[in-house]
Amino acid sequence: MRSIRNGLVLALGITMTAFGLAACGGDDGGTPAASDPNAKVELSLATFTEFGYEELIPEYERLHPNIKITHRKTGQGGPYHQDLITKLAAGSGLADVSAVEEGHLSNVLDKGSKFNDLTKIGPAEASPDRWLGWKYDAAKTKDGKVIGYGTDIGPLAMCYRKDMLEAAGMPSDPEAVKPLFATWDSYFAAGEQYVAKTGGKAWFDSAAQNFNAMVNQLPTGYIGGDDKLAVESNQGIKDAWTKVTGAVAKGQSAKLTAFSNEWNSGFKQGAFATKVCPAWMLGVIEEHSGPENAGKWAVTAAFPGGGGNWGGSYLTVPTQSKHPKEAAELAAWLTAPEQQIKAFKAKGTFPSQVKALEDPALLSETDAYFGGAKIGQLFAEQAKKVAKPQYKGPGDGQIQENASSPALQAVEQGKSADEGWTQLLDAAKKITR
């Protein structure tokens, strides 16, 4: 009974794949518009969560009367990307313009042959200098194809509880705290101090949140340039592990798994004093901390070890698209600085375009919840600190999700650092076998 169902689930996936292939027939209709610029073209655009494109789509349709856009929105990123990979495998069903999140980029780059090279089909105005260098380069496949136009980014800064640092007799002004957040060593040293002064209160929310940022800053990540597992040979990863697990052993972690219910409650309870903080995290903090904690949180333009990025997306044009040229034009238009500024105003997605980062509308943005901090300017500054992107080989995202994060959680739940490291290695080997 059970295995019939298991078989069914599998076969469903497989038959859906087959169906997808069979259903390749064009619902778009019409001839490729390359021959006739006024021919009617129907384009589809797939995004997840909030991209802020609702107002922009009708605008594009007004500017291009022959183009009709269907916008498919998915609520959550996880299911969206699962669907994306499945349809990519099926060879049909993907939208002409499909969004891809940074965390899933390694899986998509691995299947680069199924995407159009935007340097070949995209319009001239979407030149590399439109974006921050690291953002643009991260969407390059190994053979140099550019498969995505950057939309938004998540430059990293540090958020902290002003009142809690004050109570511990530590600096709490956004300028004065910067030295605490200069390097990871100074960060964990400050944590030790905080724990001692508060009688054992936690310094950060979750070990994995720091570890991910640390590994991201290394010149190379879990997977080497040869697409082989490099966890054992990469000393930087081991060093980061030692530092983070050392901090856990000293009681600096609140041991809350990121995005769990307990983590959400942790904000309201004031369970931790500092938090790795990409631009989009401000909204998360405000939502979970609630109005009663307004003004207690602060954000500062500093991040241990320089800068970093967490999150942000790309618009890609899969080779399945029947109108790749028109799709690339739409993607280029949506990711132009003017449009991304509008998206930023609509939904707060932080733009990745150099010009947009200099736009007064962005620079003047403040956040009342964070004591009126000039967050536009602050994160624009942090975005420029990001070094060149780390190469993300196949399986990179899964190692973070299913090897390193659970291993750190296990250490927080009582495993020794060595046992945890072995668990990480075993899981990573399994993922990349």
Binding site: R2, S3, G7, L8, L10, A90, N261, A407, Q423, K430
Partner: protein, 326 residues
């Protein structure tokens, strides 16, 4: 059948000599008798073939390949997936977890269900209300229950730990430990299924003839004696049925451990797979790692395990009913 058989040779002889006019009618009626029953039951088998048998066989076929989703030409590797699976500690770990959660849920569940049924069959006010009441958890959405229970068992801010602390006990990190996580998941399962099973047992209990109880009463048997010597033995067939259905349910447990994980959307079953069940591992292999070949191998091994357990069940049922006849 026999009538038709006798007619056939005669007809054929007749058909050789005369035009086939009478034979058509006969033939049609013969087909009707022979073919119609199969046609009537065909829809079930056609549907089963498409959504049951074909996937089952196709899964067996896929399990012989190293087949990643989207592979243009998966490579045939014979039984390598199975070899790897039998050496895969994560699989054995998942199997142990599944059995452990199954035992922790089914055993207390059946005991409580029988006791509940005994209470419900006693004379109580508003009997229907109570009976509907025990079925309510079953009617509630499984996902909603999973989310609520995961919250209740939260290590820091969960209600269960809050209560434990109020009565002076140490809080338990429910997700962290292997045993504690199994207990928490088993509680989730029991919450949903105990009432359902209690109602099935109750129905069987009420079908027991009153005369038997009265005879026992006259012989001087007390309430407990009557329960153990009259009610329980007569409940045996029902209990076997309930055991089999909860075995099937227990081995396919998926939603509860998936939602119990603190990491949202995770299929890991805890930080060190301490509560990852076989189906959760299967799902992770197929739809997170996209290793369809290996996942198919897991599905088949699980199938064989379930067939074995079903055979044991069948054997036990046969023996128990044989004992009853004596």
């Amino acid at each position: 059948m026999t009538v038709v058989d006798k007619i056939v040779p005669d007809e054929e002889k007749a058909g050789a000599r005369t035009p086939p006019r009478p034979t058509l009618r006969h033939r049609l009626s013969r087909w009707d008798v022979k073919v119609s029953p199969y046609l009537y039951i065909a829809p079930f088998f056609v549907v089963f073939g498409i959504v049951g048998l074909f996937p089952l066989l196709y899964t067996a076929y896929v399990s012989l390949f190293s087949w990643e989703a989207g592979d243009d030409d998966p490579s045939f590797i014979g039984l390598d997936n199975f070899k790897e699976l039998f050496a895969d500690t994560q699989f054995w770990n998942a199997l142990e977890n599944t059995v452990s959660i199954f035992l922790l849920s089914s055993v207390p569940q059946l005991i409580i269900a029988v006791l509940l049924a005994a209470l419900l069959s006693a004379r109580i006010r508003g009997a229907t209300g109570w009976r509907v009441g025990v079925l309510l958890p079953y009617a509630a959405s499984l996902v909603a229950l999973g989310i609520i229970f995961a919250n209740l068992f939260g290590p820091k801010y969960g209600l269960v730990n809050g209560l434990l602390q109020t009565i002076g006990l140490d809080p338990v990190d429910w997700q962290a430990g292997r045993f504690s996580s199994h207990v928490a998941i088993a509680i989730m399962v029991n919450w949903r299924w105990t009432g359902y099973n209690a109602l099935i047992v109750l129905a069987a209990m009420q079908a027991i003839p009153k005369e038997l109880h009265e005879a026992a009463l006259i012989d001087g048997a007390g309430t407990a004696r009557r329960f153990f010597s009259v009610t329980l033995p007569l409940l045996k067939p029902t209990l076997i049925f309930v055991t089999i259905t909860s075995t099937i349910g227990g081995l396919q447990i998926f939603t509860e451990p998936k939602l119990f994980d603190a990491m949202p959307g995770s299929n890991n079953g805890g930080s060190s797979n301490q509560f990852q069940t076989v189906t959760l591992y299967l799902y992770q292999t197929a739809f997170e790692n996209y290793e369809l070949g290996y996942a198919s191998a897991i599905a088949w091994v699980l199938f064989v395990i379930i067939v074995l357990i079903a055979l044991v069940n069948f054997f036990l049922t046969g023996r128990l009913t044989a004992v009853k006849k004596k």
